[in-house]
Symmetry: C2
Subunit: 251 residues, 2 copies
């Protein structure tokens, strides 16, 4: 049994009318999914949480012209304001964290560097990497049926990143393996107040005592998911799975 699903594609600056969608979207629709003139698809604007139906008008070698219907508010978008602050781990682990965080409903991702961060992104590499994570988030949004995608902020140092998440009224949680306090009660409290949420997690080497103190000073609860030490790449999925589940108590 294969379920029929309409092809979904992220389109920036979505608007009603006929227009070329650019080579990236063209390739996805015409090459990957073999759509032809007359075929219909769904488009969403991940930056604005909008969607529209589209119909292929013309396929050229490098582009695709579509007729887009009326633009409407997307039906399936993240309902909560959730910032995930992540000290960049080694290799491609950040890619997986961006995917997990997107599927699990985060609205903002702040990559950060800490004293135990091994990855050092200098100069143009910083922005290139940010754009890569943004593309991954949009693709993950498409796959999971979400019509918005988390914003990926520029790489910031720890103190700046914490401040990005701790907007006025926000409740924040710093995940720290040696914390005693469990996440459940303060998270339930924050959910019941409909507060914006911020979570911060360290790299493979963990957080320094000074970094944990900074999180506490800015008003975050320092919490742990239990006695076993999670790998850096497990923390986001586990914490945000908990958020999604506890959120189910309020819906």
């Amino acid at each position: 049994m294969s379920r029929e699903r309409r092809v979904r594609v992220p389109v920036s600056d979505l608007a009603e009318g006929e227009r070329p969608l650019g080579p990236r979207v063209a390739k996805y629709l015409a090459v990957v999914h073999r759509l032809r003139p007359g075929d219909r698809f769904a488009a969403f604007d991940p930056g604005r949480g909008l969607e529209a139906d589209g119909e292929v008008v013309l396929v050229t070698a490098s582009d695709l012209v579509a007729r887009m219907g009326p633009v409407r508010a997307a039906s399936l978008v993240a309902r909560r304001d959730v910032t995930w602050i992540q000290a960049i781990p080694k290799g491609e682990k950040m890619d997986g964290i961006v995917r997990d965080a997107t599927e699990l409903g985060v609205t903002r991702i702040v990559p950060t560097t800490t004293s135990f961060t091994v990855v050092r992104l200098e100069g143009p590499k910083r922005e290139a990497r940010r754009q890569r994570w943004e593309r991954i988030a949009r693709e993950a949004a498409r796959q999971c049926g979400r019509s918005d995608a988390p914003e990926v902020l520029p790489v910031a140092v720890w103190a700046e990143a914490l401040a990005q998440g701790m907007t006025p009224g926000a409740s924040g949680f710093c995940l720290f393996e040696r914390a005693d306090a469990p996440l459940a009660l303060p998270l339930l409290d924050a959910l019941s107040r409909e507060a914006p949420l911020a979570f911060a997690a360290g790299p493979e080497g963990g957080l320094s005592a000074a970094e944990v103190a900074e999180a506490r000073a800015i008003g975050m609860e320092v919490v742990s998911l239990g006695p076993f030490v999670l790998r850096a790449e497990t923390v986001a999925g586990a914490t945000l799975g908990a958020l999604r589940t506890l959120d189910g108590l309020f819906s």
Copy 2:
């Protein structure tokens, strides 16, 4: 700041006294960690949840003799009886699920095949793969500080796998993207009753209607983590992160 941590190694049939630990343990202690005679380490028996302190007596080209102290019950083991039933996804995704499930406190993993499972393990490959997952679970236990490791059962068909998890008194949850019921309330109820828990999750292609019906018939709740469709490899971490967090309400 690097924290001093004693080297931990899994040793089967842990017993007090002097003995060779075999080439695999020898390589880990003498080559990876460069332990020499007189150096101390910690050993745990992942099948029995026991631990003991050890001291290196002799290092040879292919083995290592250690003097093991008194064997005691391990201090850090999974406290709940949790079975994770997983339809095998493609590629190496099952390896990651086994790691996540181990870090997040599962005590039994049941690999299963369903109608949309692409991977077909025939003959000796089935047992070879099971042994590989068992090694991955032991290694993940070592890394996360757990002194037991989940048992990895032989690959079973869906109905058999469900039965393995639904032991008398167990509460079971089948994760299904199109379910309406959220996980939180029935899971809280099961945790408050100290029931053994079983979770079942499908492969990339999802579960068939018949498979969901089988789960319901054996007494499982059919639940979802929310409106976005999670990848097969995200479900275990997210669900078990929720379990760990809700468990924090009872500790």
